[in-house]
């Protein structure tokens, strides 16, 4: 496939591009959905094509085609150059590219069991089994389970000489139980809402032991129907790991995207409350807040060998003991900011323009444990598993809902509470972080549905987290 990507780059250069790169991509996806012991859908999708980027003067053009041939690829390069020329009708400042090593390399996700060769019947039986277990609990109306596997091959070529092949394997899934009341529905999910996704093979699914957790999840969903509502008040809030992971994703991960900081996403995804002159001095949180963007974490969903500009995967400090020190960047955005490129530019398939995306943006662990944190909390609430998420366009004001909560009184977990929500302002909230669990409870949570860009792109990102406590948080906001 290198020859087609090369033809696309050559086509763009022949049409006047000063820089060009191209990706030939073949991606396979298998998705199995089961509801109430019946297969709701079984989809296999294959996408293949070439996307080429051309730079002329200060303007970019991008063109993609599903027709994989040398002739079509060269024509795609020419079209990308034509589009770049049209961009110059409304031109910007000259574009510089931060230097990276020109690499010829290969990378493959380490995996044990190729998920696409595991018999379909084994996967279907697993999901039918967990939905059967959940339906066995009185009061469960809807029990669903899902498995999705991704197998992606990418061949990247640039006019600077890059030539990189990557084979990425991602696996994930989960299940949930829904109980219906008179005028409400209550749901519990496992391992987290929308499932847990990691780089790796079918061993990821085996590790999470779906069967052992189905009954508990269903019982909790039913119990929520008769649980008390969480009252609106300020209190100490303990977040379970997957909810803390989403908190990182929304209020830190997006805020540190350099394209947002530079205004490139102003009309759609939004901007950021972070301003580059404050890089290195802005207090984002408490001393316990240490965050990195690390695309090299084994097994995490945002792990790869090279990004879609040919920059090697790396670990970048983002928040150091509460101080904001890093951003997510690509070669052009990093050059504007005067920073080294972070290797965080990825495109969703062959037909989408690579853009700044999160890799694995996660917390470093603390030295406590969930049990210790609860024991140390006189009056508070423990919330688990995301149910809703909303945050403003500067990534400051958030309101999250979780599936379930428990009252904490005098160091003990008490009554179950339903419809829990909490709200706050990012840096104030992170400033109140005062306890974090340690390595034993740390998980590389995966988010397989991060939307950004126009046309919309979906990225797979990772967020390492465990349980943590935040002081004096407003909880229980309802309409």
């Amino acid at each position: 496939m290198f020859e087609y990507a090369t033809a696309a780059v050559e086509g763009a250069l022949a049409a006047g591009a000063t820089y060009a790169d191209a990706r030939a991509v073949v991606s396979k996806q298998e998705s199995i959905d089961v509801q109430n012991q019946a297969v709701r859908s079984l989809d296999r999708t294959e996408q293949a094509g070439i996307g080429v980027r051309a730079l002329i003067g200060s303007s970019w053009g991008f063109f993609a085609t599903a027709d994989i041939s040398r002739r079509s690829a060269a024509a795609a390069g020419e079209r990308a150059a034509e589009i770049a020329r049209a961009s110059a009708i409304v031109p910007g400042d000259p574009i510089e590219f931060a230097d990276v090593d020109v690499v010829r390399d290969t990378y493959e996700t380490p995996f044990v069991e190729d998920p696409l060769t595991i018999p379909l019947s084994e996967k279907v039986d697993l999901l039918i089994g967990v939905t059967k277990t959940m339906q066995g609990v009185d009061g469960i109306a809807i029990a669903t389970g899902n498995l999705t596997f991704y197998d992606t091959n990418k061949w990247f070529v640039s006019s600077q000489g890059h030539r990189i092949h990557q084979h990425l394997v991602e696996s994930g899934g989960g299940f949930d139980a829904t109980a219906l009341g008179e005028r409400e529905s209550q749901r519990r999910s496992y391992p987290q809402s929308f499932g847990q996704y990691e780089t790796g093979g079918y061993e990821v699914i085996r590790k999470w032991d779906f069967a052992a957790n189905a009954g508990r999840v269903a019982e909790e969903a039913v119990a929520l129907l008769t649980a008390d509502e969480l009252d609106e008040r300020e209190t100490d809030l303990i977040l379970e790991g997957s909810q803390l992971a989403l908190q990182i994703h929304e209020s830190v991960g997006h805020a540190i995207e350099l394209d947002r900081i530079l205004g490139w996403e102003a009309a759609f995804a939004g901007t950021s409350h972070l301003q580059l002159p404050k890089l290195g001095s802005f207090r984002f949180g408490s001393d316990l807040m240490n965050i990195t963007a690390d695309a090299t974490l084994p097994g995490a969903l945002g792990t790869f060998g090279y990004d879609d500009e040919g920059t090697k995967a790396q670990r970048v400090p983002i928040v150091d003991h509460g101080t904001w020190v890093g951003v997510l960047s690509g070669r052009d955005s990093a050059a504007i900011a005067g920073l080294p490129p972070g290797g965080m530019v990825r495109g969703d398939g062959y037909n989408r323009l690579p853009m700044v995306r999160m890799t694995n943006v996660g917390l470093l662990p603390g030295d406590s444990s969930l049990d210790e944190i609860i024991a140390d909390t006189k009056d508070g609430v423990y919330m688990a598993t995301n149910r809703s998420w909303s945050i403003d366009d500067k990534r400051l004001n958030f309101q999250f809902g979780t599936e379930i909560a428990w009252e904490i009184k005098n160091g003990k977990r008490g009554r179950m509470l339903k419809n829990p929500t909490y709200t706050g302002i990012g840096p104030v909230f992170w400033g109140s972080l005062d306890r974090l669990a340690g390595d034993d409870e740390w998980i590389h949570w995966g988010t397989p549905n991060c939307g950004k860009g126009q046309p919309i792109q979906v990225a797979h990102t990772g967020h390492s987290a465990g349980p943590g406590r935040f002081k004096n948080v407003r909880v229980g906001v309802r309409g």
Partner: protein, 443 residues
């Protein structure tokens, strides 16, 4: 015969008599010119073909999709889908294929849009940018053209062309932003300067905002905000699967809304976008969802219709196995008041240009949280007095439209962007009696 129809025939021939089969093929292009900081920074286009196939072998169902459409590849693609289906348990709810039926004779397509050049999109962007001197502009201009063909082994076949052209953007001052939006099947209908001036004026008017106190307010919701209400109602409520599962608030035949509320889906309206059949080949028709406040119907595909004992109404969408059938040509009935008249009726309230990042807390109550964005204003004694910083709300959309809650409807129904994207809702400005703002966006 179009290339899309050739593909559907080719795939059906490959399936032969081995299974029931339905095929959707599309060919065409999508191009989007994106700008920020008042210059074009991302400019993309793609051409391609896609084939979706669903097969049922004695009730064992499987689906497959591919963008690789060469003859040998398609043969392997079909064989793979059949092999997958054979391994499946029987789907007891398999509704069978759509029977042969004529589809409405409507076409929402425009040749100039289908073939729109990057220069044409850039010219619209330039007009938008130039309409806000001294401000930073951001947004996009999109054109899309597709031929879509459907065929199944029961003899149903349909074909259509569709185009869309959209300009959407903001102008920004140092302290504010204002938005403008237009959509049509024809790029010739887009005037970047007009939309840009609307955005620029909103930005200028909201340049010195203050923090309003959270609480209950009367609201004037511009079409973008109303469009988000419409798509949330459709997705979570007027959805045959959500209703069948008991997750929808919908109670058919009951007066659940203010009597002024009229809500329907209609691909045959000349203003609409899309093709007049769904991905199961069922013809679309006008569907009255709410008449004079009374809930009348929900969207169905073949499976949900079979379970409900009604006829499918052409609202299957990709992914409907999971989230259910969704109507995608939504209208809310307007009134006879200008926006100025609606504002004049408000003693104290808030004008909202757009909502942002809305998420549902519970589909049965339709409680949603989200924020305002790109132009929020205080109304006092019948006129806009000040700009307001963005606010968070937590509000049941059904309760907000309840009996006696709609105080006025504008005469300005138009395509409005929404939380789920453009080209779906044609709605007016709306005056509601109460909206629950729970906090300011910046604390």
């Amino acid at each position: 015969m179009s290339r899309a129809s050739q593909l559907t025939e080719q795939v059906l021939d490959l399936v032969g008599d081995r299974a029931e089969a339905e095929v959707v093929a599309s060919t065409g292009n999508l191009a989007l010119t994106r700008f920020a900081n008042s210059f074009i920074h991302q400019n993309v286009a793609e051409v391609g073909e896609a084939v979706s196939l669903r097969v049922a072998v004695d009730g064992r169902v499987a689906s497959a999709k591919t963008t690789t459409t060469g003859s040998e590849t398609l043969a392997a693609f079909v064989d793979g889908a059949l092999e997958t289906a054979a391994l499946q348990p029987v789907d007891e709810d398999w509704p069978g294929l759509a029977p042969p039926r004529a589809v409405p004779d409507v076409v929402h397509a425009d040749d100039a849009t289908y073939d729109a050049s990057p220069q044409a999109r850039a010219a619209i962007v330039k007009d938008f940018v130039d309409s806000g001197p001294g401000m930073l502009a951001a947004g996009y201009c999109q054109t899309e053209g597709r031929s879509i063909a459907f065929a199944n082994s029961a003899g149903q076949a349909a074909e259509g062309r569709q185009t869309n052209a959209i300009v959407d953007g903001i102008h920004q001052t140092a302290t504010s932003a204002g938005t403008g939006h237009a959509a049509s099947a024809a790029i010739g209908d887009l005037d970047g300067a007009v939309i840009g001036r609307i955005a620029a004026q909103r930005a200028i008017d909201s340049a010195t905002p203050f923090d309003a106190k959270p609480g209950e307010y009367e609201v004037i919701l511009a079409p973008e905000a109303v469009g988000t209400i419409a798509i949330f109602l459709a997705f979570y409520g007027f959805n045959g699967k959500m209703l069948e599962e008991g997750q929808s608030f919908v109670d058919l035949g009951t007066k659940q809304f203010d009597e002024r509320f009229r809500f329907w889906d209609d691909v045959t309206d000349p203003r609409a976008l899309g093709v007049p059949f769904d991905t199961e080949g069922t013809p679309k028709r006008r569907l009255e969802l709410v008449e004079d406040g009374v809930t009348r119907a929900v969207a169905h595909n073949r499976k949900t219709a079979k379970k409900a004992g009604v006829e499918p109404n052409g609202n299957n969408v990709p992914g409907a196995e999971g989230w259910g059938p969704i109507p995608t040509n939504l209208f809310i009935g307007g009134g006879d008041k200008t926006v100025g008249d609606l504002i004049a009726d408000v003693e104290r309230g808030i004008y909202v240009s757009t909502f942002n990042y809305c998420r549902i807390l519970d589909p049965k109550t339709m409680v949603v949280t989200g924020l305002t964005r790109n132009g929020t204003f205080m109304i006092e004694n019948g006129r806009i007095t000040d700009a307001v910083t963005n606010m968070r709300f937590t509000q049941s959309f059904v309760d907000a439209l309840g009996d006696g809650k709609i105080l006025g409807l504008g005469d300005d129904a138009r395509f409005a962007d929404s939380e789920f994207g453009p080209g779906i809702t044609i709605v007016p400005t709306m005056h509601l009696g109460s909206w629950n703002f729970t906090g300011g966006a910046e604390g």
